[in-house]
């Protein structure tokens, strides 16, 4: 018999986030001032759709944070600007904007398809693009899709009364599970990326159900075809859920660019990223899914990019479209 005695003073079993103060700054300056005033005792929140479930039994459990600073109401962070070449999205833009704003949906064809898989109708209205990025979940949906658009993040911090800004590529900003290059006192202000209205988009995702589902694998695909609709002019691919961080598939893109939509090339391309699977669990399953999603993503995006009738291999189209 194990004679070990233990005095178990249970952890406080709070099942909600306890905070002393909940601040809702109206401007960036106010936000930075609050961050300085409460240095070391605050947490920045936006949509809160992950923070509240995180502070429950089985995850973080008892969480008492002196000050929560909610940046979701800062007007600068809620703006979005779209033109023919670039898209600028404030960090507090709700995910649902991709579905509700037709101009945004046209500029970023992949994003409405990504958004429709994101949580559910209601959480999308509250959850923010910036929150999804800063959370840096290996299963994030928005991040890989934005990486396919060559997104950059705009970061800012306050120093000596001035706001210092810097930019970096999104795929360098996310450095590991729940880890980013965000510095102490720094805020994610916006995401900027290419507008690609001429690219067909697809977002393939699988999890345990359809709504409120965490990606086991997701794949963002963008395809632009030549004027005849028979060759790849441009391809953008990014995978999520397969390892610690999302992965842009630059080698596959190079391989496909300029080539025909032939079965042999699609199948070879589908095989290329299979070895990238480095997840903690279910690697064999994920490899199968990656192979299938590559074909499905490329075929769906090519069809939506206006592939010529008969240009896609019919045997693959029948199975994957």
């Amino acid at each position: 018999m194990d004679k070990q005695m233990s005095a178990d003073r249970p952890k406080e079993r709070q099942v909600m986030l306890i905070c002393g103060e909940y601040l809702t700054p109206g401007t960036l300056d106010e936000a930075f001032a609050a961050m300085q005033r409460h240095r070391g005792r605050y947490r920045v929140v936006a949509g809160c759709t992950d923070t509240l479930p995180w502070a429950r039994e089985g995850r973080a459990g008892d969480v008492e944070i002196p000050v929560l600073i909610d940046v979701a109401r800062i007007p600068d962070l809620r703006e979005s600007r779209v033109d023919d070449h670039r898209v600028w999205l404030g960090a507090a833009t709700p995910i649902q904007r991709f579905l509700d704003d037709p101009a945004l949906g046209r500029a970023l064809r992949c994003m409405p398809r990504c958004a429709v898989w994101f949580a559910d109708e209601q959480i999308r209205a509250q959850a923010t693009i910036g929150g999804n990025i800063v959370n840096a979940s290996p299963a994030a949906d928005v991040t890989p899709a934005l990486i396919a658009y060559d997104a950059e993040v705009e970061l800012a911090k306050s120093s000596g009364g001035r706001i210092l800004r810097r930019r970096m590529k999104l795929d360098q900003f996310v450095i590991g599970p729940n880890r980013t290059a965000l510095e102490e006192g720094e805020l994610l202000i916006a995401v900027e990326c290419d507008a690609l209205p001429g690219h067909g988009g697809s977002f393939e995702k699988v999890g345990h159900r359809r709504s409120l589902v965490i990606s086991i694998v997701c794949l963002a695909t963008l395809v632009k075809l030549d004027a005849q609709g028979r060759r790849f002019e441009d391809v953008r691919l990014a995978l999520g859920g397969i390892g610690p961080v999302p992965r842009r598939l630059a080698d596959v893109e190079t391989f496909l660019r300029g080539g025909p939509l032939s079965a042999a090339r699609l199948e070879e391309a589908a095989e290329m990223p299979v070895s990238l699977v480095a997840s903690r669990t279910r690697q064999a399953y994920r490899r199968d899914v990656v192979r299938g999603f590559m074909l499905r993503g490329l075929i769906n995006a090519a069809r939506r990019a206006g592939a010529e009738a008969g240009a896609l291999p019919p045997e693959l189209e029948a199975v994957y479209a």
Binding site: D2, Y22, E57
Partner: protein
């Protein structure tokens, strides 16, 4: 903690109130404004029972810090039928019979309202997707989708509004007719009060301290610090039980709170009643329990071996129940058989996941009657047990069954009502306990995990000669309904088939896992999974169609079952015919199918990993651009 001065418009009324910075909008609406129509089912944004409109946009109020409602227009379920007249969707939910337990329904009506506002012409697929954030465990969703489509069609003039007032059943003629459920209006409006919605003047809030160990002796429990905390009105342990401590369904092996030792992680050890929830939670942290850990057993087969840790003194072999059934001569049956197939099957624990987590309210009334209000599926039995536990005559114990927000068998155990009674008696004030979803999952009964070894002998023509089955069910730490579950598994093990020789043994075993208990089908599922899977395998081996092998062996009207029950009518043949038809079954033995199945390639079957019904039109347009 500086309060937030909150100004908002709630259901059309401007309010100015103080709110705590950590409150969620859901807490503020339910606790401070008494708007209990919207419910809390999970507290984690998964279930949608709390969905409300914020500035016209549907959101989950359990995910919204109350400060996010500053200056906003909030509409709860109470706003939809404010004048007393049900909204279009509420009428449709009533008409379609879309509400059962009703707990998900306020959120579901809100989500349906949002869906039809977003796209008044949404088809069924799009409706499904737009309602994806709301979970229902009763209806299977079909009637809910029917209701949304009905409301959509009435709104668009494709169905007459008179459809809502039509009454199908003639006076007094109900069998085989569609009858309007009379409690539906209370559910679609959110007016129905579940136990967690109820309050009483002077009511205290209860929290439960639970075991972190699967098996441990309780050396000591020190509640002194908790009892002296400001706001704490009562702390109880098993020492507070005045009568004969022990409840169950067949054997009363479970104490109200752990007595002497804990047998599973999540078992109640002590409980606190305090003026508010936060104080009660903090008091739990001040209770000190010293445990001496004991070897634990988590596998029922291991628990049956000699020398395994023993959970209960009365059952040194850890067997809760063994049911043997013997019919005919099994050895002779195998000797006569052309084919003998042997296989093993297992099933896992399953959580009921009713949308309403357990909740209860208790008080001692003016006549000294200890009264428990809770969604309790077995109040008469519980009343008798509680009278014995609290040493009161039966006339001084009253159970009131509050609306059950889904039970499925999971609310048949008296898992928390005893603690409520003791705290009401100790404090002489009304007390209320509302489980969190996590607490509900960790502490209440699950479906029995099972392991089945099955051997069947058949003739070449498909007739079953003999069945031999041994099933071991993991009953977990306490008996609860295990005895009845393994009994039913044994009775139904051989299925509705004529089998002359049968040997069945089912066992319910104690382990240090979460207790297993009643769950829809009650042991039949585990047995049927094994027997029916086995029949498919046998059909494959014999080159028979799986439907055919069942028809060959099917019991007919007037059959006598293996346990001597005479069946007046047997509907198996009709069930098989209907299942074969609707599934679009491809006739033939399982081996006859190629690599593509035509029965899956149908319009009414959704392709895997597909979402985005709303893009159907966009797809065509995108390609055209």
């Amino acid at each position: 903690m500086p309060d937030i001065r909150l100004e908002a418009t709630i259901n059309g009324r401007k309010i100015t109130r103080n709110a705590k910075p950590h409150q969620r909008l859901l807490d503020f609406l339910r606790d401070d404004l008494n708007l209990t129509g919207n419910k809390e089912g999970c507290g984690a944004g998964e279930c949608g029972t709390c969905s409300v409109f914020v500035d016209g946009v549907l959101m989950k109020s359990c995910l919204l810090p109350v400060a996010k409602a500053q200056g906003a227009q909030i509409e709860t379920i109470e706003s939809l039928a404010k004048t007393g007249e049900l909204s279009l969707l509420q009428k449709a939910f009533h008409k379609a019979g879309a509400s059962q337990c009703g707990y998900c329904i306020p959120g579901m009506v809100m989500a349906a309202t949002a869906a039809i506002r977003a796209n008044p012409f949404a088809d069924r697929e799009e409706i499904k997707e737009r309602l994806g954030g709301n979970i229902c465990r009763c209806t299977g969703y079909q009637k809910i989708f029917d209701a949304v489509e009905m409301a959509r069609d009435v709104q668009n003039g494709r169905l007459p509004a008179t459809i809502f007032s039509e009454v199908e059943a003639e006076q007094g003629d109900y069998i085989g007719k569609n009858v309007r459920s009379i409690d539906a209006p209370s559910k679609v409006t959110g007016r129905l009060k579940y136990a967690g919605d109820m309050t009483m003047p002077g009511m205290l809030h209860v929290q439960v301290l639970r075991s972190p160990h699967p098996h441990a002796r309780i050396v000591s429990i020190d509640t002194a610090a908790a009892e002296t905390m400001a706001g704490v009105e009562g702390v109880i342990t098993s020492a507070d039980v005045p009568g004969e401590d022990g409840f169950g369904v067949i054997v009363n092996d479970q104490p109200v709170m752990a007595r002497g030792k804990v047998r599973y992680v999540g078992e109640a050890v002590a409980a606190v009643a305090a003026e508010d929830l936060l104080t009660a939670k903090r008091a739990l942290a001040a209770i000190e329990v010293v445990y001496e850990r004991l070897p634990a057993v988590f596998d029922p087969d291991e628990a049956m071996r000699a020398g395994a840790p023993v959970l209960h003194d009365y059952a040194p072999d850890n067997i809760t129940k063994h049911i043997p059934i013997r019919v005919g001569d099994v050895e002779k049956g195998f000797a006569e058989s052309d084919l003998v197939v042997k296989e093993a099957y297992s099933t896992q624990a399953i959580e009921h996941a009713y949308l309403e987590p357990e909740a209860g309210l208790a008080y001692v009334d003016h006549d000294g009657v200890v009264t428990i209000v809770s969604p309790d599926q077995n109040i008469t039995h519980h009343r008798h047990m509680l009278a014995r536990i609290i040493a009161k005559p039966i006339a001084k114990v009253r159970f009131i069954m509050s609306p059950v927000g889904g039970g499925f068998g999971g609310k048949t155990d008296m898992i928390y009502q005893g603690m409520l009674a003791l705290l009401a008696m100790k404090t002489q004030r009304p007390v209320r306990l509302v489980f969190t979803r996590e607490e509900s999952i960790i502490s209440t009964a699950k479906r029995h995990p099972s392991r089945t070894r099955l051997r069947m002998g058949l003739m070449r023509d498909g007739r079953i000669r003999v069945l031999e089955m041994t099933m071991v069910c993991d009953g977990g730490a306490y008996g609860l309904s295990t005895g009845n579950v393994v009994h039913k598994a044994a009775v139904l093990a051989a299925g509705p088939y004529v089998i002359p020789n049968i040997k069945v043994d089912t066992y319910g075993i104690y382990t240090n896992n979460t207790p297993s208990g009643a769950f829809r089908s009650f042991g039949a599922l585990q047995a049927a999974f094994a027997t029916e899977s086995h029949l498919d395998i046998c059909a494959e081996r014999l080159g028979l169609d799986p439907f055919q092998i069942r028809r060959i062996n099917a019991m007919r009207d007037g059959a006598v079952t293996h346990t001597r029950q005479k069946l007046g009518s047997v509907s198996l043949s009709r069930v098989l015919d209907a299942a074969e038809k609707v599934s679009g079954w491809e006739a033939g033995a399982p081996v006859s199918r190629g690599d593509r199945r035509s029965d899956l390639d149908r319009d009414d079957i959704r392709p895997p990993c597909a979402l985005g019904a709303r893009f159907a039109a966009a797809d065509k347009q995108e390609a055209a651009e």
